[in-house]
């Protein structure tokens, strides 16, 4: 058995060592983006590198948690076979603190952040340094039924009132299963209310100040206990929300723009009446803080071809490539000025500016090495929302604050 392992190791190392003059082969670990545009962009970059590098793909699972699991297992073992990584916006703190990604400095940093939305660039920063280059972003809009809702709601309270008025078909679709989507929702609600999950100036201390957090969580609980909640709200995610909305019995949905082409193809009747608006406010006098998703590209610290990896990323994130990604895959660009382009308006007919505005005022989730702990602690504390009664909300907020602080200290079981 040992002999077999040794033989395998020799074969593997032989594979890695074919640097006999040809272009360096870079492995790009990322999930298989369904439109298949990434390999085309990578090929074009390889060709234009004049023999510096070629990019080959190693596909990760579709779910973000599972992508991370596979990456960190390799990184924990100092695997040199990863050169470029497609990183979810919430991994930055963890990967940077563990020494798994290379810092972006000087000209590289400039290339990665020039013209990029500040909110998006913030997702790639940890302790004032840049660790990855944003390639696409994502944000949630409020989708509603124009035939039932005369005027899109500005605030959550308005939306809940409108839903109650509509009655049977007034459901509001959200993401409230015990997973990252619930944390995304809470973060936006808390930020919209005017506070944050962790202190802005100290990433190791919890904020979640009252009464703002009470109001934010209170609205979530109010929805969960109302007629406007889907009966299976406690197991809902982006896709169940989309399916239920397409079925027609919902009038509101908070979701990413992928629902637009999906409704067009799958539910023409719903699509006819599909309207979009900015994420509703929690506080009527304060702009909302919509969710922010997306992918940043990082260079592995164990890569043996870091310079080539930086060059390849700088090529792939160029504006014309962002437009290609938006056109083929519907994923919003990270460079703000691109939203004036005709091609982006074609992808988001009539709502490109809305997406720009949403990304602009979006609030990134906290960047901390203990993000997984924080996320697990929040999920455990507030799921299922329907089990929290409105008068328990202040106690729940105290509990949440304790649990998040423990998570930031990396204490206890989660």
């Amino acid at each position: 058995m040992i002999a077999a392992l040794a033989a395998a190791a020799i074969v593997l190392s032989a594979c890695g060592d074919d640097e006999s003059g040809g272009p360096t082969e870079l492995s790009f670990f990322i999930f298989n983006e369904p439109s298949g545009i990434l390999p085309k962009i990578a090929d074009a970059c390889s060709k234009s590198s004049n023999g510096e590098y070629t990019i080959s793909f190693e596909y990760l699972p579709n779910e973000a948690d599972q992508q991370r699991e596979q990456l960190v297992r390799r990184l924990g073992a100092e695997d040199s076979s990863i050169d470029i990584m497609g990183m979810d916006v919430i991994w930055t703190g963890e990967f940077a603190n563990a020494g798994w990604v290379e810092e972006w400095t000087g000209a590289n940093e400039k290339a990665a952040t020039t013209g990029v939305f500040p909110s998006v660039a913030e997702t790639a920063r940890f302790e004032d340094k840049l660790w990855a280059a944003p390639i696409w972003s994502n944000t949630q809009l409020l989708w509603y039924r124009k035939d039932r809702v005369p005027k899109p709601p500005k605030t959550w309270e308005e939306m809940l009132d409108q839903a109650a008025e509509i009655g049977k078909n007034g459901m509001i679709q959200v993401q409230a299963d015990r997973y990252e989507g619930l944390v995304v929702w809470l973060n936006s609600m808390v930020e919209s209310a005017g506070t944050s999950i962790v202190q802005p100036d100290d990433a190791e201390a919890v904020a979640l100040s009252s009464p703002q957090t009470d109001k934010a969580l209170g609205l979530m609980v109010q929805l969960a206990n109302s007629e406007a909640a889907d009966p299976s709200q406690s197991t809902s995610n982006e896709d169940t929300a989309r399916l239920s909305f397409e079925a027609g019995s919902s009038s509101f949905m908070l979701n990413y723009p992928f629902v637009y082409p999906s409704a067009k193809d799958n539910a023409p009747d719903v699509f006819k009446n599909l309207g979009e608006a900015l994420y509703p406010r929690v506080d009527a006098d304060r702009p909302s803080a919509p969710p922010l998703g997306g992918i940043n590209l990082g260079v592995s610290s164990y890569s043996e071809h870091k310079q080539e990896a930086f060059d390849a990323i700088k090529c792939m994130i160029q504006p014309q490539n962002q437009i290609k990604i938006a056109t083929a895959g519907g994923l919003p660009p990270v460079t703000e000025s691109l939203y004036d382009e005709k091609q982006i308006d074609d992808v988001y007919p009539g709502f490109a500016d809305l997406i720009r505005q949403s990304i602009k005022q979006a609030a990134p989730r906290p960047v901390t090495p203990a993000y997984q702990d924080l996320s697990l602690a929040i999920q455990r504390t507030i799921h299922p929302l329907g089990d929290i009664s409105p008068d328990q909300v202040p106690d729940k907020v105290d509990e949440l604050r304790d649990n998040v602080q423990k998570a930031l200290n990396v204490e206890g079981l989660l």
Partner: protein, 313 residues
């Protein structure tokens, strides 16, 4: 063959001449050990080493995300686990699933075993087809059941007497119902097959004799079948209990442990794989290992001397 047995008999008759025999026995035993050695070594390498390594890790503060903060912390990880209400909730969940599913599986498995034993035609087909659920990958089976019980797309909510908007995975007890159903469906064949093996070893003459003495079917089952099947029952229940205590796939696929359906294995997974907290996660793993060991010991002691493989007389 013949030559080998001759000196043995000679040795029995003659006390002082016992040495050459035991020499032979000893060399045979040595040969036995030598033949076993590769297997034992492989076992040590793949089981003893990881267990010891996990124990060593469990005594440290070791988190892949904070590589500079590695230090020896003694038993504090164990204190963290054992004082956490989460651990005890998950232990209770796991024991609940284990107890309920193994009980149902045993009763059903016994019924199926008796049926298969008495099957007159198509024995092979019956025995093979009963095994099909066990042959399906657990994750696939779990997804199948999850899809069936999905509120919007599953068929279960379309059935009569089931509310159309019943959210099976939104409540602890209904979620456990589906999880246990999936477990029972999948592993009952395993128990049935082990019990069938036990049934076939019982001499039919015993039943005939009991019938002659006037014992009815119930008496025959409780006085003859059950006692004589004790070793087979022990093996079946022990294997299934150990398996059920480590339940992971079904729960992970269906609820990911939400609405208080988390098992200890999922708890360990969360610490090790999601949080990369190797110290704390290893402490959970070692505790699961100890629990499994305890279950095995309880079973063997509880069932008396009839340890499988051990001479009964």
């Amino acid at each position: 063959m013949e030559a080998a047995s001759v000196p043995a008999r000679a040795g029995e008759e003659n006390e002082p001449k016992k040495r050459p025999l035991s020499e032979r026995a000893r060399s045979e035993r040595r040969l036995g050990w030598l033949l076993c050695a590769p297997a034992v070594l492989a076992m040590l390498l793949v089981t003893a080493y990881p267990i010891i390594y996990a124990f060593v890790l469990s005594l440290q503060r070791l988190d892949l995300r904070f590589p500079d903060e590695r230090e020896f912390v003694g038993l504090s990880n164990y204190v963290d686990v054992l004082t956490s209400s989460l651990w005890w909730t998950d232990v209770a969940n796991t024991l609940g699933v284990t107890l309920v599913s193994v009980t149902i599986e045993f009763v059903l498995g016994m019924a199926i075993a008796l049926l298969m034993h008495r099957a007159i035609f198509g024995r092979g087909v019956v025995r093979t087809s009963v095994l099909i659920p066990y042959g399906i990958v657990t994750v696939v089976a779990a997804f199948t059941w999850q899809f069936a019980f999905q509120p919007d797309t599953g068929f279960v909510n379309q059935l009569p007497f089931v509310a159309d908007d019943m959210n099976w995975f939104g409540d602890r007890f209904s979620a456990f119902f589906v999880i246990i159903l999936a477990e029972v469906w999948k592993t009952t064949p395993f128990i049935a097959l082990l019990l069938l093996a036990g049934l076939t070893t019982i001499d039919d003459g015993l039943y005939e004799a009991a019938k002659v003495d006037g014992a009815n079917a119930v008496q025959r089952f409780f006085r003859i079948t059950l006692p004589l099947m004790k070793p087979a029952i022990l093996v079946a229940l022990l294997f299934r209990t150990l398996d059920a205590f480590r339940v992971f796939d079904s729960i992970f696929v269906m609820t990911r442990g939400s609405v208080d359906t988390e098992s200890v294995s999922i708890l360990g997974y969360n610490q090790l794989i999601a949080r990369l907290n190797l110290g704390l996660g290893s402490a959970v793993s070692v505790l699961i290992f100890l629990a499994v060991l305890m279950i095995a010991i309880l079973f063997v002691k509880g069932f008396g001397t009839s340890v499988p493989g051990k001479d009964q007389r």
